[in-house]
Symmetry: C2
Subunit: 417 residues, 2 copies
C-alpha cells in the first residue's frame, strides 16, 4: 500500500482536543489503507516558553543545550498523539529524532538534515501497519550524538525528509490555509488557489514572503523529488472537501513535468521586509563593491537586490536592499566605513516593498518584464530597482503602491480568471 507523511503544526496540536482532531485525520488515511508517518510540532506556545527560559538562563546560551531544552516540546506532542491514536484503535508508536535516527549536521539550533533512516518504520508498516508518530524539528548530530534542532518551521523539513526516507508517495502539510494562492487573498480578492506549483516556483514564493512553507523544506523536497501537498487542518477530518476531480483540496508542490497546463506566470509575491539604501557617486574602480559590502557582511546583514548604474565621469551609483530590521545598522556600518569606501552621499528609504512575478513559464516566454514595466508605468508607479532571475522578476516600489501594483500584475498575467 502507498506510504503517506502527514505533518501538523503547533496550532493543530495546541491541546488534547485538537490532538484528537489530528488523530481523526490520521485514522482517515490509515483506514483508507495508507501506511502513515505523522510529523508533529510542539504544542502552540511551548517552544516560545522554552526559548524564553534559555534566554533567561543566559543571553549567550550554548546552542547545544538550547537544542536539548527546546526539542522537549515535540517529544510531548508525539507521545500524546500516539496515546490518542491507540485509543482510537490505530496501532501507533512515537519516535524522537535520535531514535529513527534523523541525522543532521552540527549547526545546532539551525541544523541541516543529512538523511532519515526509514528502515525500522517501513518494517513496522509491513509487520503491523504501525503509524509512526515522529517529533518534528529535531534530529541527532551524526558524530557527537547530541540532539539538534532545525530552526523555526523546521518541522516542515522534518516531514519532507521523512517522506524521502520512507519513500512516501506524498507529504501532506496541514496548515491554516487550504493551499498556495496566486497572491495574498487579503490584497487581491480574486486570488485563486493553485492546484499545482513547481518546486522552483514555490522556492521563490516561500523565500518571498508567502509564508506557507519553510524555504528549506521546499529545497529538500526539490532535491529529493518529494511531492508535497499544502492543505487545510480545519477541513473535516472524516470527510475532507474534494475538488471537481475528486482530489483533496490543496496545492500540490511537485516537479515541473507533472504540471501539464503551464502558465507563464504562476503568482505574484510581495515582501514589505525590505529597506533601500543608495550610495551616490562612488569612485568606479575595481574593489569598490567589496569595500562597500564588506562592512555589511561583517555586521551579518543580508543584502538582497543590488543595482549598479553605468559609470559616468569615473563615478557610479549603487542601490541595494537590506531587511527592514537591519536598516539602521546597515546605514551606520557604511557611515563608519565612509572614508575607506569613498562616496559623496548615502540615501535610503524603508517605506518600500518588493513585488515579484514568478513563473517557470518565463524561461520560454519573452516580454514578461517589459509588459510589467509598461503596466506599472500606466498606473503611475515609479520603479526604484529591478532584479531578475530565470523564473522571477522583482521590482522595488514605494510601499504605498503595494496593493495597486499587485492587483495590476495579477490581472495583467491572467491570474484573476
Amino acid at each position: 500500500m502507498s506510504r503517506l507523511v502527514m505533518k501538523f503544526g503547533g496550532t493543530s496540536v495546541a491541546d488534547i482536543e485538537r490532538i484528537r482532531n489530528v488523530a481523526r485525520h490520521v485514522k482517515r488515511e490509515w483506514d483508507a489503507g495508507h501506511d502513515v508517518a505523522v510529523v508533529v510540532s510542539a504544542m502552540a506556545g511551548t517552544t516560545n516558553k522554552l526559548v524564553a527560559w534559555c534566554r533567561e538562563a543566559s543571553v549567550l546560551h550554548d546552542a547545544r543545550e538550547y537544542d536539548v531544552v527546546v526539542s522537549s516540546g515535540e517529544q510531548v506532542t508525539s507521545g500524546l498523539l500516539a496515546i490518542v491514536l491507540q485509543e482510537m484503535g490505530v496501532t501507533a508508536r512515537s519516535w524522537q529524532g535520535w531514535q529513527i535516527p534523523i541525522y543532521s549536521d552540527g549547526s545546532h539550533a539551525a541544523a541541516h538534515i543529512l538523511g532519515v533512516n526509514g528502515e525500522e518504520i517501513i518494517k513496522r508498516f509491513k509487520e503491523r501497519r504501525e503509524v509512526a508518530v515522529i517529533s518534528g524539528f529535531q534530529g541527532i548530530h551524526k558524530e557527537t550524538g547530541r540532539v539538534t534542532t532545525f530552526g523555526r518551521g523546521g518541522s516542515d523539513t522534518s516531514a519532507v525528509a521523512v517522506a524521502a526516507g520512507i519513500g512516501a508517495e506524498r507529504c501532506d502539510i496541514y496548515t491554516d490555509v487550504d493551499g498556495v494562492y496566486t497572491t495574498d487573498p487579503n490584497v487581491v480578492e480574486k486570488a485563486k488557489r493553485l492546484e499545482k506549483v513547481a518546486f522552483e516556483e514555490m522556492l521563490e514564493m516561500a523565500s518571498l514572503g508567502a509564508k506557507v512553507l519553510q524555504v528549506r523544506s521546499v529545497e529538500y523536497a526539490m532535491q529529493n523529488k518529494v511531492r508535497v501537498m499544502v492543505r487545510s487542518s480545519f477541513d473535516d477530518p472524516v470527510k475532507p472537501k474534494t475538488d471537481k476531480n475528486g482530489q483533496p483540496v490543496g496545492t500540490l508542490i511537485c516537479d515541473e513535468e507533472e504540471i501539464l497546463e503551464n502558465q507563464v506566470v504562476t503568482g505574484i509575491a510581495f515582501s514589505k521586509d525590505e529597506a533601500q539604501i543608495s550610495i551616490r557617486r562612488l569612485a568606479d574602480k575595481p574593489g569598490i563593491a567589496a569595500a562597500l559590502f564588506g562592512p555589511l557582511a561583517d555586521a551579518n546583514i543580508n543584502v538582497d537586490m543590488i543595482v549598479q548604474n553605468i559609470s559616468a565621469d569615473g563615478f557610479t551609483d549603487i542601490t541595494f536592499t537590506v531587511p527592514t530590521a537591519d536598516y539602521d545598522r546597515a546605514k551606520a556600518a557604511i557611515e563608519k566605513a565612509k572614508a575607506a569606501i569613498g562616496f559623496k552621499a548615502m540615501e535610503g528609504a524603508n517605506d518600500v516593498v518588493k513585488v515579484s512575478i514568478i513563473g517557470v513559464g518565463m524561461r520560454t516566454h519573452a516580454g514578461v518584464a517589459a509588459s510589467a514595466f509598461k503596466a506599472l508605468a500606466a498606473k503611475g508607479i515609479n520603479i526604484r530597482a529591478i532584479s531578475t532571475s530565470e523564473i522571477k522578476i522583482s521590482i522595488l516600489i514605494d510601499a504605498a503602491y503595494t496593493e495597486l501594483a499587485v492587483r495590476t500584475l495579477h490581472s495583467l498575467y491572467g491570474l484573476d480568471r
Copy 2:
C-alpha cells in the same frame, strides 16, 4: 580528584533563579576540586501537568508513550542547568538517560535501573573537568531502545545509580530537610539529626514513612555500597554550614561498619497509612491463609502486618493491616469470599497507627521489645498487633496515642539526649 554526585529535586529547580542557586552549589564543589555529576528532576509542577495530559489523552494510556511524555520534564531542566553552569564559567554538558546510557528493564513508568555506563562521563572528567548534568527519573530499555521512567521519586535512584556507575565517593541528595532525624521533629521537639544511618536502618525508615528518600534508591545504594548524604538545599550555596568536625551538616547513609558509635535504637518511625482488619473464628486448617489473602492479592492490595493467634478448639483469629486507601475495598473483597473462607466475624479499624522502633544494634541487644511493651503499658497504651524483624519492632496502636507513644519510645531509648 574525588568524584561526587549531587541531586536536586523539583522544588530546587522550579524556576531559573532557583536553577542558578543549584549551579552555585555545584560550582562550590567543582571549585573545591571535585569532579561532579548533577542529577536533576523536572521543574516543580511540570510532571503533574504532563501526567494530567496523558490521562486526558486516554485513561488507559500506553505506559511506553507515558514515559516519552513525562521524561521531557527532566530534559528541560538538564539543558537549562548546563546553560547556567556554563555562564558561571563551569564546563558542563547535559545528558539524557538514553545518551549515557542509563539502562533499565522494560517495566515502563516504574522501571528498574540495570546499570549506568559511566565511561564517557569519567573520560570527560579527566579531559576537561566537564560537569555532567544528568536528567533523573529516566533511562532506556536495553532491548527496545524506548525511553523508560522510574516512578515518583525515581531521580533519587538515578543519582545513586550514577554514583555507582562513575565510582563516586559520595552521592549528596539535596532536600528540604537537613538530614534524617531520630523521629518526626513535628511530633517530638527533641528529635535530633542523625549523623550516620546504616543502609538497613534507612531502608526501614524510608518504607515506614520518613519521606526523605525513595525506598528503591536506598536498596540500590545498599546493594552497590554507595554512600548517600541527605543535606539541605536551603543551605548557603557558597559557604554551607558545617558541624563541629568541619563536615557538612546532613545525614550520611552508609555501611554499618562505617558507623563507630552504634546505638541500639537509631530512630522511631510511624505510619498513619494503616488500617486494621481482624477475622474472628476461622477454621484452623491448612490453606486457610491462602483462602483469606488470595482475594486481597487478586484485588492488588498489599497486606503488611499479619498476626495469627494460637488455635483454640479448631478455630483461630487473624489480624492484618492494609493501606488506609484500600480499607473499604479489602473488607468488601473478604466479605465477598466469606463462604469460601469460612469465618464468624470480621472487625476493623482505620484509626490506627504503626509505630516502629529501628536500629541495627537490636541484632545484638536483647530486651528491646520487652522494654517497649512495658513503657507503653505504663502509659495505658493498648497494643493491637506486633510484628518484628531483625532490626525493627512494629507496634499497631490507636491513632489517638501516636504522639504519646512516639515520645515515650524516643525517651526510652535515649534519643532525647
